[in-house]
């Protein structure tokens, strides 16, 4: 049987500053009918570009400079615009990373859903609407009869992502390209979307290319995995073989990422004064109460991880501690001393003691200031250093975060990679010589290899400087790696808290259990097992029963 999609020696170039530089250097890709191929690699590896090229499409400022793309006997490189139009949406569909950004907010879901089938003449509008409702039911969207008649903003992120998958399925395509469809979702939502996608792909025998940087996710979804590194193929192998016996060093290093583990530090003595105590804090935005009676302590030199889904109040807690959001009730104490509620009333020294590192390094660093200015400002502001001594201190800080001062001192944030930007964010916090650093999802926007580097750096700095961390995250793998204590939050309340080892050993609070079990594991059978455990019948069967 001929493969459905065959890409031979494809070369893709991108344009910057009048020059063309390579993005993909001669990659081959073969996809059989009904097969799911996982494409993984760091950001910048060319995964998305290759995925789009499989549709014969490139983004603006990018061109295909060589090679061939043959879809079911049709050469997409030489096909006319008219021929391509008859394929895209009809036989090849695309599911983008952010469904929220990909749906047109001005139209109802159903109107966007029926567009492709009606335009391609597969179904008329009423048939297509009926079919959409059926697909929504198969993807286990709540209230399938009505949900399509809502606007995108009236539907949650995970539901939108499933609606988008339904839309891609509307013409029963032969090939779907999934570009990181679950990256922006919470772990608990991710499971539902993964299960839905996998079952519907199975059921219709659709071929798929699944692009992601999350190895555990790809292990659940793909029959075969292809690893990309800076536009080159590293290796391709069936999923189980790849997981058990990776051949190349790079693949092994990817696999080893989740191996970073820091032993829990011994519990603090009974007379240890916590560096920070949050005592019965209640906070609200206007009428909306977002935190209720939140209490926990952070002891010197320890890492407290605050975990929970988005909307659980993790970041709001950080805003209360830093004084951006004065609480309605309760108090924040620093070394036993109550801090003024608003940051404007705090002294310079109180402000200096607590520093923050942000999730998005892009918005956390002023794009118009050089690295030396960004790091130098807090040094000058708090210690009054200037001239040569300021420069020496900036260089010392750059060395602490493992960036070469001579190379990076005068660069702008835009000229750094994501991981390097995050390191500069750490250096800016260190520059104030704080006792406590609040890390707000510092690794969730980074690739796993880079994230591991950041975690190791933070751990080293803690050992060297005796820092305390409040580590806000939704990623339990990160918690396992770095935390000493864990605080689980849900809907503005602390559900459970305690030492890490105790928290990861059953019995748990049911919510903690749900969170823990939702973290994908590197085992291809994990999703099946989990669904079986949770008593969810396979979606395909449920849907068939309904038909």
């Amino acid at each position: 049987m001929t493969p459905l999609l065959e890409i031979r020696d494809i070369r893709i170039e991108g344009r910057s500053d009048e020059d063309w530089h390579p993005i993909i250097n001669g990659v081959d890709l073969t996809l059989g009918r009904g097969e799911v191929l996982g494409l993984i690699g760091e950001s910048g590896a060319g995964k998305s570009t290759l995925g789009l090229a499989a549709m014969g499409y490139v983004r603006d400022g990018v061109r295909i400079s060589g090679g061939s793309v043959v879809f079911d006997g049709i050469d997409l490189m030489t096909a006319s615009a008219e021929e391509k139009r008859s394929l895209l949406g009809r036989r090849i569909a695309y599911v983008a990373q952010s469904a929220a950004a990909s749906f047109n907010p001005a139209h109802k879901l159903i109107d966007q859903h029926v567009e492709a089938p009606v335009r391609h003449g597969v179904q008329d509008r009423s048939e297509s609407v009926e079919d959409a409702i059926e697909l929504y039911a198969k993807l286990r969207l709540p209230d399938p009869d009505q949900i399509g008649f809502r606007y995108p903003h009236q539907v949650s992120g995970g539901q939108l992502q499933r609606a988008m998958t339904a839309m891609a399925m509307s013409c029963r395509p032969d090939l779907i390209i999934f570009d990181e469809p679950t990256t922006a979702l919470d772990v608990t939502t991710q499971i539902e979307v993964l299960a839905a996608i996998r079952d519907i792909v199975d059921q219709f025998g659709t071929s798929a290319i699944y692009i992601t940087h999350d190895l555990a996710v790809v292990a659940q979804m793909a029959d075969r995995i292809k690893v990309l590194l800076r536009g080159d193929e590293v290796e391709t192998a069936p999923t189980r073989e790849m997981l058990e016996h990776p051949r190349e060093d790079y693949t092994k290093s990817l696999w080893a990422v989740r191996g970073f583990h820091r032993p829990e530090k011994p519990a603090p003595g009974p007379d240890s004064v916590p560096i920070l105590s949050v005592e019965g804090v209640t906070a609200a935005y206007g009428e909306q109460v977002v935190l209720e009676d939140v209490s926990f302590d952070i002891h010197p030199g320890r890492t407290v991880a605050v975990v929970g889904e988005s909307g659980s109040g993790k970041s709001t807690t950080a805003r209360v501690i830093t004084g951006l959001l004065p609480p309605r009730g309760g108090a924040v104490k620093f070394e036993g001393e109550t801090l003024p509620a608003g940051y404007r009333k705090r002294s310079k020294d109180q402000l200096r003691q607590i520093q923050m590192i942000y999730q998005m390094a892009d918005t956390a660093l002023n794009p118009r200031q050089s690295i030396a200015q960004i790091i130098g400002r807090p040094v000058r502001f708090y210690s009054g250093l200037g001239g040569r001594r300021l420069r020496a201190r900036v260089d010392e800080l750059l060395e602490q975060i493992e960036l070469d001062p001579a190379t990076y001192r005068d660069r702008l944030p835009g000229e750094l990679s994501g991981g390097q930007k995050q390191r500069v964010g750490i250096a800016r916090a260190l520059a104030a010589e704080p006792r406590l650093i609040i890390c707000d999802e510092v690794t969730s926007a980074l690739d796993q290899l880079v994230a591991e580097g950041i975690l190791k750096l933070l751990a080293r700095l803690q050992d060297e400087l005796g820092l305390s961390y409040m580590f806000i995250t939704h990623d339990l793998a990160t918690v396992k790696a770095i935390a000493d204590e864990v605080v689980v939050m849900k809907e503005g309340r602390v559900i459970e808290q305690g030492a890490k080892t105790a928290m990861f050993t059953p019995p748990h609070h049911p919510y903690t259990d749900l969170l823990l079990s939702s973290v994908p594991e590197m085992d291809p059978d994990w999703l099946d097992r989990l669904l079986a455990e949770r008593g969810v019948e396979a979606l395909g069967e449920a849907a068939t029963g309904k038909m």
């Binding site: 009048e18 030489t78 006319s80 615009a81 008219e82 830093t322 004084g323 951006l324 940051y343 705090r346 310079k348 402000l351 520093q355 923050m356 942000y358 998005m360 918005t363 956390a364 660093l365 002023n366 794009p367 118009r368 200031q369 400002r377 807090p378 502001f381 708090y382 835009g414 800016r428 104030a432």
Partner: protein, 390 residues
């Protein structure tokens, strides 16, 4: 009615041309992808462009179309001048400047050339101009061109006005007065509007409300009429002192125009204030000055600069129109707006004596060229600053 028939017939002819041309191109090129994937709309556009060029050539041949020929020649001269200027920039001067010129589009080079020329003329007006701006020289109403047979005089290449002042000299001094005042006014408007707008964005709350509602009130009144009203009041205060009158005009236009700058600065500022780096600076305990001028202003620069270019042109046109109405720059100071008004009657001669009608068109052209030049430069700066982000 027949004009409509003509237009419909011409469109039909172009449509046919596009269809035939597309079909022929596909046949002749052996269905090359370029023509195969070209839509009919694009082909129609090409046909329309072809028709426009043909129309241009026909107009050029017509004996009466003097202004069209001048416009085409002027355009060609500007293009060549810009090209030569860019070429010079690419091979002369320090390396950093050369690199800038290498990436520069022709439009931006033209804009920079225009700005440099105007600046030089404005600064050295007293040395360049052959006569004083107020000097009344013997002959009145000398026709531009300097050809005695046509009523010109070689001593006054651009002719003289109704009371016998040299138009060339007045144009040169006009650059000093009009452009200089417009620049000062725009700077003032930006300082006022920009600072208050960013402040409103950072502080928010009641200060934002007070400033924004105040601006709303000012913006609700049509700006030209408002300026006229205020200038009438100011002229009583100035009590005939010319310098004071000009100062009042600058202040009034600056305040009225600063409302637009305020709106822009505030909305851009609000987008930046929510960024984490501003939060980090706030939590560091930084003062308002640092927040506004170090953290926010550099990031608001691109849209503000673009607005500066536009605003400069508007201020400039406002001054010209106020002068045209008689309340702006006071005679005998030369100013382009006043010159257009004084010479406006000659436009009636355009049909049979193009040279005579040139007199009011020259100051108008001076205004137009500067406006276009400034906007070209601003476009380019915007393009560069947005390119840096990606």
């Amino acid at each position: 009615m027949s004009i409509w028939l003509w237009i419909i017939a011409a469109l039909a002819a172009i449509a046919t041309l596009a269809w035939v041309g597309l079909w022929a191109a596909r046949r002749l090129s052996g269905n090359a992808p370029r023509f195969r994937d070209m839509s009919y709309g694009v082909a129609f556009g090409y046909a329309l462009a072809l028709a426009a060029i043909a129309g241009g050539v026909w107009l050029w041949m017509k004996p009466g179309a003097v202004y069209f020929r001048w416009a085409v020649m002027g355009f060609a001269i500007c293009a060549v001048a810009a090209f030569v200027f860019r070429l010079a920039g690419r091979h002369l001067g320090p390396e950093r400047l050369k690199r800038q010129f290498r990436k520069m589009p022709l439009t931006a080079a033209f804009g920079i050339l225009v700005i440099i020329l105007y600046a030089v003329v404005a600064i050295f007006a007293a040395w360049i101009a052959p006569h004083g701006q107020e000097a009344v020289l013997g002959a009145a109403n000398v026709v531009p061109g300097g050809d005695p047979a046509m009523g010109g005089d070689p001593a006054f290449p651009l002719g003289t006005d109704r009371i016998g002042r040299d138009i060339l000299s007045r144009l040169i001094y006009g650059a000093q007065n009009t452009v200089g005042l417009a620049f000062a006014t725009t700077l003032l408007a930006f300082f006022l509007g920009g600072a208050l707008g960013l402040l409103a964005a950072v502080v928010g709350g009641w200060l934002d409300q007070v400033l924004s509602r105040g601006v709303d009130v000012l913006m609700a009144i049509p700006s030209l009429i408002f300026a006229l009203l205020l200038l009438t009041i100011a002229s009583v205060w100035a009590d005939g002192a010319r310098g004071l009158m000009t100062l009042y005009m600058v202040l009034i236009i600056a305040v009225i125009d600063s409302t637009r700058v305020f709106r822009l600065a505030r909305s851009v500022g609000i987008g930046i204030v929510v960024m984490d780096y501003v939060e980090a600076a706030k939590l560091r305990g930084e003062g308002m000055g640092h927040l506004v001028f170090r953290e926010i202003l550099p990031n608001a620069m691109a849209p503000l600069l673009a607005e500066f270019g536009l605003r400069f042109c508007f201020v400039f046109l406002t001054i010209a129109s106020l002068s045209f109405l008689g309340v702006g720059i006071q005679p005998p100071l030369a100013d382009w707006g006043t010159m257009v008004r004084d010479l406006a009657q000659f436009i009636n001669f355009a049909a049979f004596a193009p040279m005579v009608a040139l007199a009011p068109l020259l100051p108008a052209l001076a205004i137009a060229v500067l406006t276009v030049g400034v906007n070209f430069v601003v476009d380019w700066m915007l393009h560069r600053s947005s390119g840096l982000k990606s």
